[in-house]
Amino acid sequence: MTDLTVSHGQDGSATARVAEPTFGWLFVVAVLGVIATYIRAIYFTPLEALQGPAQKIYYVHPTSAAVAFMAFGVVALTSIGYLWMKDMRLDRLAESAAEVGVVFTTVTLITGSLWGKPVWGTWWTWDARLTLTLFLWFIYVGYLILRGAIEDHGMRARYSAVLGILGALLIPFIHLSVYLFRTLHPMPIIFKPSRPSLPNDMLETFLLALGSFTLLFIALLRARYRLATDEAALEAEEGP
């Protein structure tokens, strides 16, 4: 699924030309942060009693979810901004944020599933939060597919801004529906994912993880945004 991130038809030369400067120092810091988190998680944070090593996923899973939510927030805001100001930079930012968001939603779904198998005994369950995450993924994959299906830049920007806004309006409704759907008829779930009261070690590791992922988000967003800008410039240059 991650190959959705490059589904926007830039040819090899464009990528080669722009790839070098897009990943800056911020990206390096973010990656170092993620590595540090995991070194700390694996070597310096105690094993969780019930779940054992599986719990180590904890440091990627909610953090990716948090990053995904941030990204979709950016999509909504830039979409509104675009319809208002008609500035192509906002459209490119929305596109970049949607792509980053889809990647992190995918990571959340996959790590959640991987976690679920040992802990809940199943890859998937129709918990409200899981379902909402799945629909978020659908909405924003739909957003990217829509973008891929339109050639004209102005039209693409307007259509995707509309979908970006409507999608943001939809999220509370889906949340409410699936939440009521479940809680009125609770299914037996062995462990409910609720905020655990963490020991200090774990909390610190978690905060480190959250910080690094946020940095990673900003770095990726910036890199993807520069790529979009360069692509636009390149296309304008190559015009007849």
Partner: protein, 240 residues
């Protein structure tokens, strides 16, 4: 209504791009009431694109255009003035000729839509087939309905994209008559055609478009038909 000296159509550095290709690439001209511009140019020069921008159906990428003093894309009042005949018939195949034209009359707020539709169809000698579904009409007949549709509200700016296509001698004569009457009543016309003779017959101005720009733009009376034809042919040949 604006007075006689107001420009009916103005375009300034008008650009419309599809992706990287600039179909219209900086067109500037002015046309006053009662004038008729014959627009020639090789295939792919951008004539249709220009007309669709002037009709308010495509957004300009850069530059601006005005119809009767209103910037494009204008509001309802500006659209009320425009009549547009395009490559596509803009008709509903399952509806009859009469229903199609009457619908247009009603949407344009014509006072007596029934009578106006009958009149417009009559002018194109189509009354005998007025109640046949458009889908069952021959190509030339469909073109006549399309013309009646565009004329039923007596537009003051008429944009015609190869309107003689498919018409027989009677149909062509009827269209020429209608256009002459419209011009006399103060309408401004833009007539795209590949037939120099046909175009110059009605025109007060003539332009040749090439690669999105006006290669020539003159008043009709300054032109010699024969030398114009030869310079047009040279231009077309070089363009391909």
């Amino acid at each position: 209504m604006s007075d006689a000296t107001t420009a009916a159509i103005e375009a300034d550095a008008l650009v419309r791009a599809f992706g990287a290709r600039r179909a219209v690439d900086g067109v500037t001209f002015t046309l006053r009431k009662g004038e008729c511009l014959a627009l020639f140019g090789p295939n792919g020069a951008g004539k249709t694109t220009l007309l669709r921008v002037l009709a308010g159906l495509l957004r300009p990428t850069a530059g601006w255009a005005r119809i009767a003093g209103t910037n494009l894309p204008g509001g309802a009042a500006a659209r009320r003035r425009i009549g547009f005949i395009s490559h596509a018939s803009m008709l509903y195949g399952p509806l009859t000729a009469r229903e199609n034209v009457e619908l247009a009359a009603r949407l344009f707020g014509v006072c007596e839509p029934r009578a106006a539709a009958a009149r417009a169809l009559g002018e194109m000698h189509l009354m005998p087939r007025a109640d046949a579904p458009v889908r069952a009409l021959s190509r030339g007949m469909q073109q006549r309905v399309s013309i009646a549709r565009a004329m039923v509200h007596e537009p003051s700016v008429v944009l015609l994209d190869e309107p003689f296509t498919g018409l027989d001698a009677t149909g062509a004569a009827a269209l020429s008559d209608s256009l002459a009457t419209l011009r006399r009543s103060g309408a401004a016309l833009v007539l795209v055609t590949h037939n120099l003779e046909e175009g110059l017959a009605l025109a007060t101005h003539a332009a040749i478009m090439s690669r999105g720009r006006f290669a020539r733009f003159e008043e009709r009376h300054t032109l010699d038909a024969a030398s114009y034809a030869s310079s047009y042919r040279t231009l077309v040949a070089h363009d391909a």
